[in-house]
Symmetry: C3
Subunit: 354 residues, 3 copies
Amino acid sequence: MELKLKELAALVGGQFANEADGETPIRGAAAIAEAGEGDITFFGNSKYLPALKKCQASAALVPEDFADSAPPVLIRVANPSLAFSRILEQFVPEPERFAPGVHPTAVVGPNVELGEGVSIQPFVVVEEGVRIAARSVIGAHGYVGRSAQIGADCLLHARVTVGSRCSLGDRVVVQPGAVIGSDGFGFTFAEGRHVKIPQVGIVRVDDDVEIGANVTIDRARFGRTWIQTGTKIDNLVQIAHNVVVGKHCILVAQVGISGSVRLGNYVTLAGQVGVAGHLEIADQIVVGAQTGINKSLSARNTYMGYPAVPASEWREQVAQIHRLSRLIERVKRLEEALEKQVSGLPKESSQEQS
Amino acid sequence: MELKLKELAALVGGQFANEADGETPIRGAAAIAEAGEGDITFFGNSKYLPALKKCQASAALVPEDFADSAPPVLIRVANPSLAFSRILEQFVPEPERFAPGVHPTAVVGPNVELGEGVSIQPFVVVEEGVRIAARSVIGAHGYVGRSAQIGADCLLHARVTVGSRCSLGDRVVVQPGAVIGSDGFGFTFAEGRHVKIPQVGIVRVDDDVEIGANVTIDRARFGRTWIQTGTKIDNLVQIAHNVVVGKHCILVAQVGISGSVRLGNYVTLAGQVGVAGHLEIADQIVVGAQTGINKSLSARNTYMGYPAVPASEWREQVAQIHRLSRLIERVKRLEEALEKQVSGLPKESSQEQS
Amino acid sequence: MELKLKELAALVGGQFANEADGETPIRGAAAIAEAGEGDITFFGNSKYLPALKKCQASAALVPEDFADSAPPVLIRVANPSLAFSRILEQFVPEPERFAPGVHPTAVVGPNVELGEGVSIQPFVVVEEGVRIAARSVIGAHGYVGRSAQIGADCLLHARVTVGSRCSLGDRVVVQPGAVIGSDGFGFTFAEGRHVKIPQVGIVRVDDDVEIGANVTIDRARFGRTWIQTGTKIDNLVQIAHNVVVGKHCILVAQVGISGSVRLGNYVTLAGQVGVAGHLEIADQIVVGAQTGINKSLSARNTYMGYPAVPASEWREQVAQIHRLSRLIERVKRLEEALEKQVSGLPKESSQEQS
């Protein structure tokens, strides 16, 4: 997509602040800090003036009263942010469409039911007994195991694995490389070795769930690992066997959830959080990044730290730790003061080094 | 799989506690908290009574003296847990079998040796000089690099990468998306840039190892990265170049092990543990979740925290940090008491705010 | 590759320390701790004597004055380390070469431009409008989305995904399983559910970048997620939408970088570091393993802990926490001493348990 600068100026009713070549081709729209040659950006907050001064964009939308200068061609508009949004729409690419039908390279087993308008991309493997409902797309190199079920209007990007018998609801989006239905990590220790416990359950993913790139969701030992309606899972998250994630949860990247954990609805786990096995986390709880949860959490709150405590408590702990030097100093002075008073303090204590 | 309720009741010698439709179809068995319509569950522990009261299962096995009511059809049995195990067996699906032979879509290079009963699934690439022993399965979209060796009875699920010259023993199980033999992360810094150090070693995986979904194991700079017999590796674990993991270790999800680390035998690293480079961790050591190890550990113990300390010590530290407010309060009172005594304490100290 | 022991001895001008079979076949070279039968190793540091004493290598290079004994055949040389390097070269395999051309199984869309000597391996999918410059290799099962651009001399190992419109510079190396251009994790909350914000930007990767196995790099909401020249990214790293990583940075395994973060040049993030959204990290900053960064860092330094502080400060905090028991003991003695003086301390304080 490429537009001339004068076309974009006209679109938003803007005036060039200085002489400019209206024929300049603009190929993208980006934030000040990222914009480069061929991009248009916008300046709406004086905090970003230093960034604008060294900005490499070909053009920038500025407020009508902007009096300063900057490397990009400046276009004065009433509301730079709003104008930028309108320009942005010009550069939004058409969403990718995948033609319906089964690509000739795909391998589709017997007794497979494909709904109307389903798209099976190159090199996909669909095993025996799979059902895929209307308009769903299985991206290139996808693997759908025996008797798995996929609802309508799903978009599985390239290279997604759905294990045998697992089920996805409608409108589920899966980013590349995600694995749904790997074996749970279950072993029993006998005679000096770890013996595999069969993992014969499934993964069930409900409607409107999104699953990030290279995420792993293990199948249950028996029964199901269950991701409920509307939950969104970021990249590289690990969900172990028999976990139940409630509705409309947010699991940020690299979160790890151990076996049989149950999350309520509207739970948010920030990046790199870890949850130990068999715990329950109640509705609407928020957990800060990198927090380690080793007890069930029932009170609605924000939690931080390892072990997790309410965020206010964690912040107080952090502040106290940062002031430990001063506390130690105060204790030392107390000891010295008492020492001067010919106190009853034992000798070894007052000589102690901290 | 579908069975009638009366068939399951008969199987375990159970009696319906209330009037019930024995023709109700049961399609699965699940724990109380997960069971839904069409499932049978069991109630064996009074702790789960509240869960049973709102359980959506179609039926539940209860003890013979169970006198309460609950939504599912109740079936009285002598030992609900045992009865449940017998029912569970009815719903365990047959293990997936992969037909022996090379799928016509697979690309197999020259000088490849395939043992008896080997199964090469669709779209697999087996490069020149590979040897795969009897009955091993290479799942769809697998990639086996030049001169790699795979033992007997291995099961590589869909989409596994085994780099050139790497070797797997017998009965190795690899979950989808795992990468065995990516380049080690080795660079030397020269003239302002990082220059790649060739990573010409291999990964060697011994018998009975299991490797989780989307795990990454780097090849050695030279020599080998080595996973020894019986070790089990959970999803999304990172193992860097030249690491040696001993026998029968357990590496839980998202563990990261830096270059040239050596783990002894029977070591357990819980989820999200990180180990810095070139360290040694002795036999049978257990490391708690999210722990950061920056020194070698030789004493058999459980370790926690960052930097890692014995777990008892870590728990004491945590308790002390939780009580810091009280300690600060005590110091303040001491200061006030001394102040009252017209003590020798300098003024600025007693005014200090904590 | 296999060489006789006498050939290797001759190569480095070494003398057998004891009677030995010069015909012994040597198939590899490895460090003392890793070397097994068929390997040659070297001993250059007395610290490793215990390791040498139980070393299973077939041969070891030792200094000329080495007087001890060990299981391997010993070969005396002037400089064992140097001699080992020369021997190592004998065992370095030829780098893998991928024949130019498009494999007959690959699916290449319309309007694709392939430079001279490009190699498209089996089962690769190259969508419409892609441009790939001279001599680049797209490994087996690779996916290159619509209108993506790949520079010259790139090596994409097996199973790499490059999303639509994303661009890679020259000499970019990508390890297996990496996903470049998954959707950013962006949702807006409305009427009780998370609604997807279209992620229409791209990922731009500059020259000489290396990207590890199963790494995930999200495309920008708009504009670009940008990895600049010479940066090296280890396995399982997560880079969110609109992040800018400067030149020649090092991101060690399992690092997670939240949306819109900006790293300067020559930044090093050690393993499992997490960076919260919208922060800036200045040039040449080093961040220790597992550190959690929740504020922008501008002063060049090494940072540790959560929240991140300068490493020296973190080490002091750790030391103080390790000594908390002693501090508590000192406060208790002060309380007792004051108590003896018939002090003004309130009763409840001196009775308090810590």
